[in-house]
Symmetry: C2
Subunit: 328 residues, 2 copies
Amino acid sequence: MAERRELAIGIDLGGTKILAALITKDGDILSNLEVETLAAKGPDVVYQQVVSSVHKLIRESQVNKNRLLGIGIAAAGVINMQNKEVIFANNTGWRNMPIGELLESEFELPVHLVNDANAAAIAERIWGAGKGAENLVYITVSTGIGAGIISDGRLITGEGDSAGEFGHISIDVNGSKCGCGNRGCLENLASGTAIAKTAKEKLRNGEYSEFFTETDSPSAEEIGKASLKGDTFSQKLLKETATYLGVGVTNMVHILNTGVIVFGGGVMNLSDILLPEIKKTVNQRGIPSMVDRVNIVKSELGMNAGVLGAVGYYFEESGDKVLASTEK
Amino acid sequence: MAERRELAIGIDLGGTKILAALITKDGDILSNLEVETLAAKGPDVVYQQVVSSVHKLIRESQVNKNRLLGIGIAAAGVINMQNKEVIFANNTGWRNMPIGELLESEFELPVHLVNDANAAAIAERIWGAGKGAENLVYITVSTGIGAGIISDGRLITGEGDSAGEFGHISIDVNGSKCGCGNRGCLENLASGTAIAKTAKEKLRNGEYSEFFTETDSPSAEEIGKASLKGDTFSQKLLKETATYLGVGVTNMVHILNTGVIVFGGGVMNLSDILLPEIKKTVNQRGIPSMVDRVNIVKSELGMNAGVLGAVGYYFEESGDKVLASTEK
């Protein structure tokens, strides 16, 4: 007699590494591993790495294949959720990649595909910092800025499954031009890339730092460390960053009347510095009746948000309705 | 034998007038009327006027009461949809007004309450300029700016039923302070009030107009008329206004991946001037794959959007699912 099917495989496809995990319906990670993405070797090699990661996970975990319900995969880029295709992704070089179909025939299991920020939103909603929240936005701040939106217990996908391009809202109509064509984009002002770029510019312009010279090009992480050690230059820069993020969050709250904002991504390793300033800005700028309902928190799932969200989305799409609330 | 119940009453409660209409499930308005709101006489009189409008509508239309399914009411302000209460509304002076309960006992009919911008979004989605759109945003530009959002065929309400505060997104982080506490709010830059205020300031500062002197205080409507007659001053001002609106729309599109944007409200009587410039800005600033899916149009239902949307929401909440798509 076959064991009860209850497990799914979650894959988080990043530009540097692929995370794969065997996950229960309760969000318990039974087994996980990572393999290199090898993006530089081209899109076909990336696909082979994804396949290898799943084979390896099944082999190493010694799971009975009968227990596997399906596979959820989270990936960056423009995605067609219905067709399970990655239309366009910079980090893997994939173009019109029918990853769902390919994995389905490779593993004879149903597959669902979701954008990585959406996956993180789903995971934090079901098992993380936003447990039980009907209205949640997950915001990732790393080299870029993106978001996954859950409204009234449902993932907001939009017309082309691209909702949540939070990094490209303009908060400075006359600001500097962004690669996307817009001006004053949040990503240009407050991402990890922006922090490093602004630091370099300010140092070149002769602004004094106790830690950096005018020829230095510190990373966001280094700015964070210097800030903790008392560097006024770095502290001021991160305060500006947090203000921009707070203005962006206020816009999001005003549009969506969000309940929980979960911050994740590499730059949020500086959350002890950034979050208090973000909250302060939101409180100063937001409509009180809306701000009163907002809880701004740090991701609880961290690195696992992608694989968990991929599986959460898989269960949701398979009719388990893990995402939707039971009652409102 | 009673006739088949198939009609609902829609009420659009404004600060100046109350519109009431008898509407079929197909969105046909069989009969309608308006009465004065008499807001200056206090909240109780406003309630009496609402009641009168319904009595009068039933009387004048000679409808058999058995055919009435219920009442939908659209109102501005902060609303609790579940409890059918107007928590706070400036235009009527209502505070914690249990309008749903009151009308239910007055007319012995079920009542549903919806925010006026949300009502307009629903109406345009079912019967108007956004027919069939799964992802639609209705934007009203009049003395203020607000929005109603439909995503994947569902109204976005948010944590406190206040989603769509589009007028209070900041597009200028260092801009002038808004009454809401934020800076650089869209409403402060592009509403009818903002057009009039900016015109006055520019004229006082000595900017030359062919139509206005430096002591004039033209309204948005007058600026529109002067613009059509060739006044460069007015044309330039409206172009600026449209650019701001375009930046706001781009933000909305990037967050929600919207398909249809429907513009309504008094200032949109100038849509021939404003819409082309709004579209131009969105095309210049938006992410191409997202902008390609956006259709920016003028409201088709105009003054009737409120009563129609109130009834559309009534049907939706009563389980008729007029709003949701049949299939995706």
